[in-house]
Symmetry: D2
Subunit: 318 residues, 4 copies
Amino acid sequence: MSTPTTAARPLVDGGVVPPLCTPLTPDRELDVESLERLVAHLLAAGVRGLFVGGSTGETAYLTDELRRRALDVVVGTTAGQVPVLAGIVDMSTPRVVDHARSAAARGADGLVATVPFYSPTHPVEIRRHFRAIRTAVDLPLIGYDIPSAVHTKLDAATVGELAGEGVLDGLKDSSGDLDGLRAVLDLVADVPGFRVFSGSETVADLGLRCGAAGLVPGLGNVDPDGYVRLHRAAAEGDWDAALREQQRLRALFGLIGVAPADRMGRYSSAIGAFKAALVLRGVIRHGTTSLPMVPLDAAEIAAVGDHLSRAGLSLAEG
Amino acid sequence: MSTPTTAARPLVDGGVVPPLCTPLTPDRELDVESLERLVAHLLAAGVRGLFVGGSTGETAYLTDELRRRALDVVVGTTAGQVPVLAGIVDMSTPRVVDHARSAAARGADGLVATVPFYSPTHPVEIRRHFRAIRTAVDLPLIGYDIPSAVHTKLDAATVGELAGEGVLDGLKDSSGDLDGLRAVLDLVADVPGFRVFSGSETVADLGLRCGAAGLVPGLGNVDPDGYVRLHRAAAEGDWDAALREQQRLRALFGLIGVAPADRMGRYSSAIGAFKAALVLRGVIRHGTTSLPMVPLDAAEIAAVGDHLSRAGLSLAEG
Amino acid sequence: MSTPTTAARPLVDGGVVPPLCTPLTPDRELDVESLERLVAHLLAAGVRGLFVGGSTGETAYLTDELRRRALDVVVGTTAGQVPVLAGIVDMSTPRVVDHARSAAARGADGLVATVPFYSPTHPVEIRRHFRAIRTAVDLPLIGYDIPSAVHTKLDAATVGELAGEGVLDGLKDSSGDLDGLRAVLDLVADVPGFRVFSGSETVADLGLRCGAAGLVPGLGNVDPDGYVRLHRAAAEGDWDAALREQQRLRALFGLIGVAPADRMGRYSSAIGAFKAALVLRGVIRHGTTSLPMVPLDAAEIAAVGDHLSRAGLSLAEG
Amino acid sequence: MSTPTTAARPLVDGGVVPPLCTPLTPDRELDVESLERLVAHLLAAGVRGLFVGGSTGETAYLTDELRRRALDVVVGTTAGQVPVLAGIVDMSTPRVVDHARSAAARGADGLVATVPFYSPTHPVEIRRHFRAIRTAVDLPLIGYDIPSAVHTKLDAATVGELAGEGVLDGLKDSSGDLDGLRAVLDLVADVPGFRVFSGSETVADLGLRCGAAGLVPGLGNVDPDGYVRLHRAAAEGDWDAALREQQRLRALFGLIGVAPADRMGRYSSAIGAFKAALVLRGVIRHGTTSLPMVPLDAAEIAAVGDHLSRAGLSLAEG
């Protein structure tokens, strides 16, 4: 069907590839300096790649202009130290291809795409979708399985088939379905260079235990060192150390629940908490989130600080 | 919160406002001539408005450039004969506002927006979303309730509240939930100028019976005369005539199922069938649909023709 | 497959067939006297049948012993004045057949069964289920479509096929899906004696407008006269009178929401409100509901009374 | 609220507790001899308890009489060698309590109950449900989290609260949600004697890795030795051996998919395959399943045999 052009050597062999938050100014413009500092913060922790334009990065909330500027800043700041993956999240093939071309022109090293959403889709159409993206833009392509957002599972059989064709070079699994993760890993075992990444904050160790190569945790913005340690312990076969690190990170992840369910949605609460934590840690300047998300209030921000302290993370002086 | 600027006089008082198909050339560019003919075909039938950028119009599949060009053609061709409503379907407030500004600049008379999707949303955020759109662009704003696409119900309480504030001027109900439709109609009974439109092809008569002012049926592309007759009969209180017309149109609507479920999704089949019918009726030139939809094959197109014949619709000579 | 033994003459030709509440004593035994009075209350209103063992009757909450005793009381009290239908709700064919035999032995005139639930089911298995019930017990069998409870739609194609075979003699549609109701009505148009009943309180008029023969509204316990008037108006073609009655009943149905969502589930609230209304109207003695439902408090019961007053229903002196 | 009567010493400390299949004769009576042989087969493998009346045991399909007889046989055959847990699966508290009393009278050592189903439920009602069961019958009570069947998650907060009260003594987690499993394990860490069991065939090793004490795998009927080895390896900290055993068992579990999706539901296929495997292994006599399940055909049974052979399991001579 398509000609695999990516070699057996994967773009990112494994490790931690955090999905970057997108720092905003109080009037919701890109906060360039904060984004540069976030990149530096992550690189200093030893991450192996950066993922711009994921759900954690409010990609669904960013105008095309903001998406482009954020990618420009990350590509520029990273300067080739690690690969930069660009999320090209949109409803359908033509719109996704537009994002893909834009990201390629801006220097992205790889692309991350979901199945189509909004209009109901179908397994045949999902295959056509990824094939058309891969044909349109010659960059490594990662499938993004996030049924909580797109309401369709990117199933193992589809991933296996597209991996075998050279259409997909990897998978970011944000489904939380470890049985499905194992099914994918079985099917791609013989596909050279294919890499599976777990997008889960709280069962990351289990994903690695199953054979995932790397991690794409939103919480990795807040505590990249923790996930790098977790990954390293797993890579060295020290599963007990990995488990201890995971337990600490699971507790820290409780910060996403600081806002009550009658005040805002869980996504507002989670993104707000990640950004509040980055402010408290001195990495970014503002906790501002996109519209229509609801901002955290002072008590909720204080509760985020408590989570950081309990996890042993230092706060910026202020 | 916001200042209602729309007067008690609604943009479209009622009647049929079809959600236009978007004719494409075989290489998936906009087929301008076909779109002009489609507009003429609909205006000739007595529609009371045109809705560009709905689900039927493949809005989820169109690049921004294609969306803009389609709106330009419809505004230009319509030339003020009836109002043109523009769908501004996207995942979040900032992206929707971008579409709203573009549509306003192109001469749309009103806007149609869904609740946020992709990231999980929340009632408070839905209110913030519509208020921000209404504040950003001073055009009549219609809420678009389509839970099959966005996976969140735009509930009656929210519609009632936003109607009372002057944020929403109407509702396009594509939920199929007639109990919910009644709940909305109760809540907006005292809001001058608020109009409810049913987006259902097969229970349109029931929506009118409940008090909806108008219809936005995708099948109205294929048989606008039928829906205009149905609406007129209802307006005149001739419910038996409305029912007979509805029964004929329900049978015709069976054309959306011409393709088997293992070949393509139901959306591919429906949009493909609408376009095939428009080709067979001599209105547009090509049945091409957007990627990644699967095209109908010859047998399926023939089956569409059979549906048209059984419904008493004339086919183009050829 | 099976031999239709029911003649073309339906068990219940149409009209109102309320799903009886099951009055309980404060210690949750059957309140026989109250049940007898409820039957009398309904018969006096002109109902055309009685349905024992529906969702409104707390059938999911009644032990087999309580189910049997309730049916005995209703059959005895009704004494052949109208047919008595028995719900035989359970998870699978063998369990449903047990209930069917018991109901037949107690004098039920017809049976009402859902699709299998708990274990995931399948269209082929649904057909086998109804055929086996019909073979085991020679009574008219009504399919009960209640996807909110069983999480599987009893789809039109299945109903049509089983109607044609003489397995199903009718349908109780509690899905709220009027498009689906129309699909069923199309398919059974040529099946003599097959009758469709709408289980919806708030779109009952629309169901009749589509061709349903009768109504099975839970709220019919509280205001049977209202539903009998609604049905009669529809039967006489006076759709405006039917609509007015429906509007009054829709408002009354608001009583199911008297309890807040953080205190109890909506089913507790609805059944509690029906029973409270029957107490306030002097029909039954106690508002007790089954475990683990939460009882209404005094303020909630008072709110039920307000709903009754606004609907013009007289309360018992007390 | 309730007085914990169960001591800190758990009924089953851990290990494998298979949910027994229920062997039937060709006319769907209990096949007593086969059930006795199944018990012996499992005890010989070193299981630490037996669970009668789970989903694997077709509990949703068994009449009360059949449930009782199956429990009698298992209690009698086991003769106290290991504890016998009885599933008391039904829709509501009164019905579940009836089953609980029957099981206690028959000698069950513990009870396993789901949240209420059929009628929509609520967190407050779920708490009332388990408390009422525990009060009615003084036996250890295990919560059964199986959202695929009951369509409501038994969430961690509820389990934690009920564990703290002494109402629940354990959890059987058949949700596949390992993040949720971790949340439960955190909350019950200080509750003496509380034990968590994973009901998953394919991520059993991960459940143990998270801290689950034991396993309740349906596939454990077919290959109890495999799960006993898996559990032992995990208990000894030999996670690589556990993983290898899990990989073999995951492949074997593929036998549940021998029947195509257009022939029967996945539950028919799974239960049919387990029973066919037990016949092929010489443990039970008939592969008969309950109505309305569809029987496997010869080719499908042969495919089950292939799965057994590939997994290294010996077949009975025949």
